[in-house]
Symmetry: C2
Subunit: 309 residues, 2 copies
Amino acid sequence: MSFDRLIEKIARTNNPTVAGLDPKLDYVPNYIKEKAFEKYGETLKGASKALLWFNKGLIDALCDIVPAVKPQAAYYEMYGYSGLKTLYKTQEYARKKGMYVITDAKRNDIGTTMEAYAVGHLGKVRVGAEEYEPFLGDALTVNGYLGSDGINPVIKVCKQYDKGMFVLAKTSNPSSGELQDMKIGDRTVYEVMGDMCEEWGKELSGKYGYSGVGIVAGATYPEQIEILRKRLPHTFFLIPGYGAQGASAKDIAAAFDKNGLGGIVNSSRGIMCAYQKEKCDEKDYAGSARREAVRMRDEIMSFVNRVQI
Amino acid sequence: MSFDRLIEKIARTNNPTVAGLDPKLDYVPNYIKEKAFEKYGETLKGASKALLWFNKGLIDALCDIVPAVKPQAAYYEMYGYSGLKTLYKTQEYARKKGMYVITDAKRNDIGTTMEAYAVGHLGKVRVGAEEYEPFLGDALTVNGYLGSDGINPVIKVCKQYDKGMFVLAKTSNPSSGELQDMKIGDRTVYEVMGDMCEEWGKELSGKYGYSGVGIVAGATYPEQIEILRKRLPHTFFLIPGYGAQGASAKDIAAAFDKNGLGGIVNSSRGIMCAYQKEKCDEKDYAGSARREAVRMRDEIMSFVNRVQI
């Protein structure tokens, strides 16, 4: 349980970042698409194979310096069940290469239905006398709008399989405030959600001071990150919004404690599409991703203490 | 756009109910599981085939008297990408049989990522020169916690492909009030969410007075249904919680207008597992589901005006 395994990988790489794998077909170099379409046609399967090969190249290039990947489920669902096979195969490859897998799916439901999501993404399902891992996440993002009926089933599965979750608190998008910034008494909705996470986390406490119930807190709202860090001393932050969404390394510094722990910063397009920005040969897309990952790490670590556990 | 197509199917059957297809393997009769395991082994594929055959039997038994099905994505994801192939095949079969398909997936994200979900579940995706429907929903349930950045991309896809959505407002579970009942000024969170839906719905207005942005309002909270119906005259309600979760037909009456329109009531376990409750031969599971669907329709219609459009 908890994020101990994630924290150990962050310490080993001295790098509190995660590479988002949100592979739109537009991001995939032409030589990969051409090969996939030649073999499987311009089909959902062909597209899904292209995404998988793209992801594998990125994972190979990043696995020794970046502790985690965060595949975004939407970009796999967009290619139907073939796309979801690519999600599975991507998770499998990242795990084999020693990376921590955060499945960004923002799932939410209640009771046995939420347990089905948790089992599907973090646990094992029984079929007759056999057991299988349907998908291979180490952690799952979830939406807490439905209250503890939607969280307790995930806690149960996290306990059983040593997994974690991140609950949406203050998201990185411009309209996040429409609901999240509204005041309930003297607290905002995102503070109420954060407080619930700190409480739920008591069920999944970890040896480095952080529980297995993290929150999502957007880098685009540095003041809110600071507020949440003070309120939630045992809650680990997944921080989107760096790079393509406009936030800088300075904006996320408040999420981290004196040991360089407390959060993990995501970059998706910044890393995946580095070769387009760099205008290098598309066949060097993975090398370009690595160069950007190193640059991002160094930039972030100039605002964060060296990671120590 | 809007729910016109759904409303027409409700009027044709004079039945504002939807059959939830949440097929846990425990719900599937043994003779179906045995046949599937014999052919495909005790595997995720074997389980997924059993679910598909189970669903097809239900659809055959219900399609002339029930206007819609609501597959719950969690129960398909629980069996991995094979399970998601069964989701697709279930949707395809229900569509072929003339039923409206509400994909209950409670998806949520922002911008291009939310658009990927909307395209995946309601639209078409381009691969090279070809276009495909990744999944086959007519409507999708979504979670509005992220604000309009998470809703506008769905509205765009609904406009393009004549689809609809249901946003979580007041969910049916016991803990739904932890956040949803909290007061923001003089409104509850669920009223704030409902008001946003009524506003968003202006983009998808329909010829029967209801927009394409519905809400989820749990039958277990009849007073809140009444409040929401008064506030949101153009918003269609998807109403879970009837039957297995304890609500009765009387509890949902306030959702409906004088023409019998305004909502659709879901039953999942009540219909799927009717044969277990009835203790009939498991080979008659579909017949039993139909008997329960008729009973439910008649019970609900004793509190709702005859459907007229």
